[in-house]
Every structure is written in structure tokens, then in C-alpha cells.
């Protein structure tokens, strides 16, 4: 009996199914990451056309992009929107997450579903509706339209990430702080927020990236203004030039650097070690 059990367990852990799994998964992961690597390599071409591998390497397209006024303006607009949207989205979403977690259990699910519903609404539909409203208020093609529109799609992500952190947060930590003389606000400030900082950071990263990369809603709302994705799109529709690869690599770098910085800052804020 014991021997049979062993041999079956061995069979369960036998190498072949696992090997196939590893090989297949590696291919999938390659499929996920390779295009971006190829894109970055191609962006360093010195030719006037794209090819892989590039015959000669250089940074001429980066130079061109960086000194191009169109790209500068687009990058500036995208960054401006994302930098306004991220903190606002973090504050508003965190308030909602707290309200849901600390509010009555009854009705929580329904209200939460409503608060995160913009997440499952196709952006084309939202963009269409927002365009109509923006036209009515005569604010289309301005930050007054872009920022609230972006907030609508970023806040649900903050609610989800911060909500998940709050759920695992042990409320007695906050109560301990209260009994030690901290008011509700300071208890949250000194205890809760630092401990749920992974959720806050994730929410901030999501907000920034979603806003920075948003295309279709801004596409509807903008007439003359161009964010980076809009500029890339119109360039792409016109011609596939190496400059588009260089811009893509640059935006990739911006989001990657920002993510790393936020994660690192989060570590510092969180005081390092967080026990489960």
C-alpha cells in the first residue's frame, strides 16, 4: 500500500507533464516579452527604415524625437494629465475603499459593484458619452475634459487595489493606535496608510499608466490637442518610421522608471518590513 502510494505520487510529479508545462509556458512568456525587446532593438537603428536586426546602430531617431516639437508637446500634455490624475485618483479611490470597508456590510457588494463598474464599460462607449457631455459644457479638447474622463477609468483600479489591502488589514492595529491617544485621522495616517502602502502604490502605478496610455476616450475628446498615444497613432497611420519605435521605447522607459521609483519609495514609506 505504502509503496503503491509512493509510486503514484511520483507519477503525479513525474517529469514529463512538468517539462511540457515549462516549455509551453516559456514560449508564452517569450511571446509576451519578445515583441517589446525587438521593438527596443529596432529603435536603435541608424537607417531611415526599420528592419531586424538593424544593419547599423545609433541613436539618431531618439535625437530626432527628442528635438521634435510635436513629440515634446504630446509628451508634455500626457505627463501633465497623468500627474494631475494620479494623486486625485489615489485620494478619491482610497476614500471609496475606506468607505466601503468601514461601512455597513449590508449593501456593500452592490455599492462596490457600482463604484467599480466603469472598469467593465468599454472605453469606446464611455468616450462616446463623455464626448457628448464635453461638447455640451464646451470643455472638449481641454484638461477640464481629459482629467475627469481619465479619473473615471483610473479610480476603479485604486478602489480594487486599496480595497484588497484594506481587507487584509487588521483593524485592531488602528484601534490600538486610538487607545494610545491617536484620533481617527492620525491613526489612519500613522498606522493604516503605511501598512496598506503596497495597495496605494499599486493604485498609483495603475492610475498613472492607464492615464498615460489612454487612447480612445482622449481620441474622442481631443480636437487639436494631442497626447502621446494620439500623436503616435496619427504618425502610425501616416507612416511606420523608426521614430515611432524610438517614441515607444521612450514611453516604455518612462512607465518602467516611474513604476520602479514608486515601488522603491513605497518601500521607504512602508518602513521596510511588513509582516503578514
Amino acid at each position: 500500500m505504502g509503496k503503491k502510494l509512493m509510486s503514484n505520487l511520483e507519477g503525479y510529479r513525474s517529469l514529463w507533464p512538468r517539462r511540457i508545462l515549462v516549455i509551453f509556458s516559456s514560449l508564452v512568456l517569450f511571446f509576451l516579452t519578445a515583441p517589446l525587446v525587438i521593438l527596443i532593438i529596432q529603435s536603435f537603428t541608424n537607417e531611415s527604415y526599420l528592419s531586424f536586426p538593424p544593419p547599423t546602430y545609433g541613436t539618431r531617431w531618439y535625437t530626432e524625437v527628442i528635438y521634435s516639437e510635436d513629440w515634446q508637446n504630446a509628451t508634455f500634455l500626457s505627463l501633465t494629465i497623468a500627474i494631475i490624475v494620479t494623486p486625485l485618483s489615489l485620494v478619491l479611490g482610497t476614500l471609496v475603499a475606506f468607505g466601503l470597508e468601514r461601512g455597513p456590510k449590508k449593501g456593500k457588494q452592490t455599492i462596490q459593484a457600482i463604484m467599480i463598474s466603469p472598469m467593465v464599460l468599454p472605453h469606446i462607449v464611455l468616450g462616446l458619452g463623455l464626448f457628448k457631455i464635453a461638447l455640451q459644457f464646451n470643455i472638449s479638447d481641454s484638461l477640464w475634459a481629459f482629467v475627469p474622463a481619465h479619473l473615471t477609468i483610473t479610480i476603479p483600479f485604486v478602489i480594487v487595489t486599496v480595497g484588497a489591502s484594506l481587507q487584509t488589514f487588521n483593524i485592531s492595529l488602528e484601534e490600538a493606535a486610538r487607545s494610545l491617544g491617536a484620533s481617527k485621522f492620525w491613526a489612519v495616517w500613522y498606522i493604516t496608510l503605511p501598512i496598506i502602502s503596497p495597495g496605494l502604490i499599486a493604485g498609483a502605478i495603475f492610475s498613472f499608466i492607464i492615464s498615460f496610455d489612454e487612447f480612445i476616450i482622449t481620441f474622442f475628446l481631443a480636437t487639436f490637442q494631442r497626447t502621446l498615444p494620439l500623436e503616435m497613432f496619427s504618425t502610425l497611420m501616416y507612416q511606420v518610421k523608426p521614430s515611432i519605435a524610438a517614441v515607444s521605447a521612450l514611453t516604455l522607459a518612462i512607465t518602467a522608471i516611474l513604476t520602479v521609483v514608486l515601488m522603491f519609495r513605497g518601500q521607504v514609506v512602508g518602513g521596510g518590513k511588513i509582516i503578514k
Binding site: F98, G99, M115, L128, L236, V240, T255
Partner: protein, 283 residues
């Protein structure tokens, strides 16, 4: 013992700022679309009222409905491919140690750090007429004419799968990792072969994750606009593209609104189907 504490209701004040924003940026736009979809559009003039013209048109003109079903078909295909590619990765993530798991997770979510447009550009550079693959194949003398790798459904599906695969792997992994290992070991100890363990234990228990992942990817795919435009040229047309065209080129808001609502209905049906499957699985 249900605790009803009036103190807790006051927490809902924290929802007020966001609710206020949502009213303006979410609920009013949706209601506006609903109203618009029943309005009449005649010689560039929109008359608000209760007309079924737009719905009649999109359901009977032959082309809108066809494109709608094409969009559904495309979305189902994307969902299926995401599931087939994502499931093994999620399974591997569950089997390996915590360190390897973190690395795989990073690779899986890394495309999320780049915009859809960047990822599409990458595919254009790979699959295009003078893209990497055709370039290499021609220079090796394997083909003489470039293969049509994009500006067709293949290119669109491939690029969208690349964009949404992460959204499939994450819920799958969550569902798989909540399955107790000992269940599979128990099955193994009863003499079950790996493949039958997978089909009788692992797969059914991960069904909630499968449903969550598929629903999410399907919904996202239904609304996809950018990738078909870039990867499909004008050869793959989706409902979102029709919506955009109706508004931006023809200023026909009522028709665009009706198409948007058709899209929402399709998504609503998908959510109902998936939640009823989940309920059925639970019982």
C-alpha cells in the same frame, strides 16, 4: 448575530466625492447615450423623442449586425486563445517556488506597463509587409513574396491576445492557487493518472477563475478599437470602429448611441451567462 451599527453608515460619506464625479462623467453620459439612441436623425438634425429608427436601421441594414457578430466571433476567438495560452502559465506559476513565481508574474504583467499602442507598434514591426518575419524569411530565400501576416483577422487576434493575456493569467492563477494541493495528492494516492487528475480535479475546481478570466477578456475584446485599426487596416472591421465612424465622420449621434447600447447589451448578456454558469457550478 448581525451587527447593525449606525456609526458605520457615516463611513459612506467617503463615497460622496467620487459619486459626484461619477454622476457627471459616468451616469449622465450613459443616460445621454440611452436617450440619444431613441432620438431621430434626419438630414443632420437630431430630434429627441422615442423613435426606434436607429435600432431598426442597425438590425436590418445587414451590415451592422454582421459586423456585430464578427466582433463577437473575434472576441470569442481572442478569449479562447487567451485561455489556451494562459492556463498552462497559471498552472506553472502554482507549481514552482515563490521566487520563480514572482519572476513569471513579473513577465506576465510586464506588457501592462506599456501602452496598447506601443505593443501594437511592436507587432507591426514584426508582422508587417516589410516587418521582421517577412524580412528574415525573404533574406533566407524561403519565400519570394511577403506573407500576409497582418491586415487580417490573424494579426488582430494575435495582437489583442498579446494585450489581454495578462488579464487572463491573473484570475486563473488566483483560482488555481486557492485549490488545496492535498486534493490532487489525494486523487493521486487513489491511483489517478496525471491527465485524469487534471480533468477531474484541477480543471473543475479552477472553473471560477476560468469564468472570471474569460468574462474579463471577452468584455475587453468587445470594446477594442485601436488594435483592429492598426493591425487590421480596413480589412477587419469591429463594432467600435463603426461607432467611431458614425460620430466622427457622419455626426450621427443617435445611430452611434444605438450601436453603443448594442455593445453594452452583448456585454450584459455575457456577464449574465458567466454568473449563471458560476452559480450552477457552485450548486
Amino acid at each position: 448575530m448581525e451587527k447593525i451599527d449606525n456609526n458605520k453608515i457615516s463611513s459612506w460619506w467617503l463615497l460622496v466625492p467620487t459619486s459626484f464625479l461619477y454622476i457627471i462623467t459616468f451616469f449622465i453620459p450613459l443616460i445621454t447615450l440611452l436617450v440619444m439612441s431613441f432620438s431621430r436623425f434626419e438630414s443632420s438634425v437630431t430630434t429627441v423623442g422615442f423613435y426606434l429608427d436607429n435600432y431598426e436601421k442597425i438590425l436590418t441594414d445587414g451590415i451592422t449586425l454582421k459586423i456585430f457578430f464578427q466582433t463577437v466571433e473575434l472576441s470569442l476567438m481572442i478569449t479562447l486563445f487567451c485561455l489556451l495560452l494562459g492556463y498552462p502559465v497559471a498552472m506553472l506559476m502554482r507549481r514552482v517556488g515563490p521566487k520563480a513565481r514572482l519572476w513569471i508574474l513579473l513577465l506576465v504583467v510586464s506588457p501592462l506597463l506599456t501602452s496598447i499602442i506601443v505593443r501594437n507598434v511592436a507587432w507591426v514591426l514584426i508582422l508587417g509587409r516589410s516587418g521582421m518575419i517577412n524580412d528574415l524569411l525573404i533574406s533566407w530565400g524561403l519565400i519570394s513574396k511577403p506573407l500576409p501576416l497582418m491586415y487580417n483577422a490573424f494579426g488582430v487576434v494575435l495582437a489583442v491576445v498579446h494585450v489581454y493575456l495578462s488579464f487572463m493569467v491573473l484570475p486563473l492563477f488566483a483560482a488555481l492557487s486557492s485549490i488545496n494541493n492535498s486534493l490532487e495528492e489525494a486523487a493521486a494516492s487513489l491511483g489517478a493518472k496525471p491527465l485524469s487528475i487534471f480533468f477531474n480535479v484541477t480543471l473543475p475546481l479552477s472553473l471560477p477563475g476560468i469564468m472570471a478570466g474569460c468574462t474579463l477578456v471577452f468584455i475587453l475584446s468587445m470594446g477594442v478599437y485601436l488594435t483592429p485599426v492598426i493591425m487590421g487596416g480596413n480589412f477587419v472591421v469591429t463594432l467600435p470602429m463603426l461607432i467611431e465612424d458614425a460620430v466622427r465622420n457622419r455626426y450621427n449621434w443617435p445611430e452611434a448611441s444605438a450601436m453603443a447600447l448594442l455593445l453594452l447589451v452583448a456585454i450584459g448578456i455575457m456577464i449574465v451567462i458567466s454568473s449563471s454558469i458560476q452559480k450552477w457550478v457552485k450548486s
